[in-house]
C-alpha cells in the first residue's frame, strides 16, 4: 500500500510534526513498506475474536478512595518549563 506525500503531510499535521520535504518523501516510502508488511493481518479471520483491551484480565485497575493528598508544588511542576510566568506555563499567543 503506497502512501502519497499528501497523506504523509496530513498525518504529520495530525501528529503536530512539521517535517522537511525530503523527510516527507522518505517517510512516504518507509511507511508504505511497513504498511505492506502489516497487511498480512488481513489473512486472519478475526470474526468473533475479542480485542485484548486489558493486558491481563482480572489484574490491576482496583479502585481506591478519592482522597485529598500532597502533590507536586507549583514550583516543582514549573521547574522544567521552557517558559513560565508567575505560576503559569507561558505559551505563544493562541488567539490572534
Amino acid at each position: 500500500m503506497a502512501l502519497s506525500t499528501e497523506e504523509v503531510r496530513h498525518i504529520a499535521s495530525l501528529a503536530r510534526l512539521q517535517l522537511e520535504p525530503e523527510e516527507e518523501a522518505r517517510l512516504a516510502g518507509e511507511l508504505s513498506a511497513i504498511l505492506d508488511y502489516v497487511r498480512q493481518l488481513e489473512e486472519l479471520d478475526v470474526a468473533g475474536v475479542e480485542p485484548m483491551t486489558h493486558a491481563l484480565a482480572g489484574e490491576g485497575t482496583p479502585l481506591r478512595e478519592d482522597e485529598v493528598k500532597e502533590s507536586l508544588s507549583p514550583q516543582q511542576a514549573l521547574a522544567n518549563a521552557p517558559a513560565r510566568e508567575g505560576t503559569c506555563f507561558r505559551v505563544p499567543r493562541i488567539i490572534e
Binding site: L14, L19, L35, V38, M52, L56, E59
Partner: protein
Amino acid sequence: MLPGPEDHRVSEAGLLELSIGELAAKLARREAASEEVTRLALARIEATDGRLGAFLRVTPERALEEARASDRRRSRGEARGPLDGVPLALKDILLTEGVETTAGSRILRGFIPPYDAAVAERLRAAGAVTLGKLNMDEFAMGSSTENSAYRPCRNPHDLGRTPGGSSGGSAAAVAARQAFGSLGTDTGGSIRQPAGFCGVVGVKPTYGRVSRYGVIAFASSLDQVGPMARTVGDAALLLGAIAGHDPRDMTSSERPVPDYREGIESGVAGLRVGVPREWFQGGADAGVEGRVREALATFERLGARLVEVELPHAKYGIAAYYLVATAEASSNLARYDGVRFGLRAEGKGLREMYGHTRDQGFGPEPKRRIMLGTYALSAGYYDAYYLRAQKVRTLVRRDFDRAFESCDLVAGPVSPTVAFPLGEKISDPLQMYLADVYTIGCNLAALPGLSVPAGMHAGLPVGLQLIGRAFDESTLLRAARALEREVGPAPAPRAIG
C-alpha cells in the same frame, strides 16, 4: 613486571567480577566496603566508557554519598539486606529525582525529574548505590541502541557490534563489569534481546508485576521494567526488590511477591519444557539454533521432558506489535509539545511552535512510529489496523494458553542472530523490526520472559529465551539456574580490556 601493581589490578578486577550475591556476602563480612567497591566501579566506567558508551550520565558524587551512607548503616548494624551498598545503574527511561533523565531523546535534554520512579525508590530503600543513567534507543524505540540521540552504545564482546536494544546500555554496563546489575525496560524484547547479545541474564516480568510509576511511557499496554545481571540468582534478587503492588500504577497487580530465590536450585527434573515448532523452522542462524538445541538437550538430560507445542499466530506478532505499540506511542508522545518540559523551538503561534519543537526534538525512529501510530488510529483506519491488531493479540495469547496446557514453560532462541554489526540494519526499519520476531509474543500476551546465556557462537554470546505462565517468574528462574549450573555464565568480555 613488578608484582605490586599487578597484584593490585588482580584484586580490583576480582571485586568487580563478583556476583551481587558474592559481593553482598563480602560486604556483610566487612571484607569490603561499599565506598571501595563504588570507587572501583566508577574507575572502571571512567576507563572504559569512552569506548563502550553504556552511560549517558555518571553521578559519582551521589554514588559515593550513597556508598558512604551504606557503610555507616552497616557499621551501626543496620544494613538493609543483600542490595545494601551494591553499585547498580538505571536505564535513562526511569525517572530519578534531581538527576537529568532524557529517555535517550533530544526533546528531554536537561529534564530534571521532580520525583523518583517507583523502581528507583525501591532500590534506594534497599540501600543500593546508583552509579548513573544508561544509554538506550530514543524512547526505547529500537533494537540496537543506535537510535540514542546522544551516542551509540557498543557490545563489550566486539566493539564493532551492537549491544542490542533498546536497553543496550543496561546490558553492556553489566557485561563490562561497570555495574553489578541494572534495570531496563522491555516493550517488545528490549531487556531480553540485549541480555542475549551481551551474555547477561535479563528478565521481562509479567505485565503488572513491577510498577511503571515514573517510567517514561512508550506503549502502555506492553511496557514493563525488569532486571539485568550476570547471574540468575542476582536477577532473582533484583526482581524481588522491585516487584510488588503500587497504587500509583493502575495496572499494578496486587498479587503477593514470592521469594524468587526460594527453590531456584531445585532443578528441572519433571518439568515440561515446551518447544514451539514455529521457532525451529530455520528462522534462526545455525549457530544460534545449535546453542539453543544444546540447552534443550541439557534440560532433557537433567530430567525435564521436552514437549512440542504450536504457536500458530507467532508469525503475525511483529505486524500486530508495530500497530499496537506505535498507536500507543503516538498518544503517549503527544505530551512533548514544548509547554511543560523539554525542548521548545520557536514558531509563530502555538501550532507552529508545536510542529517545530517536535520536528527538532524527536529523532527519525520516534517520528516514524508517531506517524505510523497516528495513521493507524486516524479516522477510517482504526478498525482495519488498531482494532484488528488487538484481536490478533488475543489469538497470540490463546496460543500460549493452549501451549501451557501441555508444558510448564516455553523455550527457544531470543534472537535469530548473535549481535549484528553497528550500521547493518539502521537504514532499514523493517529489517530492524524483524530482529524482534521471538521476543514480541511474550509482550503481546503479557507473560513473563527471560534470557539466559546458553553459550557462545563465533565469539559472541547466545541467549536462551524462556517464557512462562503469568506471574510464574519462579519457574523461569529455576530453569535458567539449572542451565547456568551446566554452561556457566558468559565469559567476561575481552574487547573492552
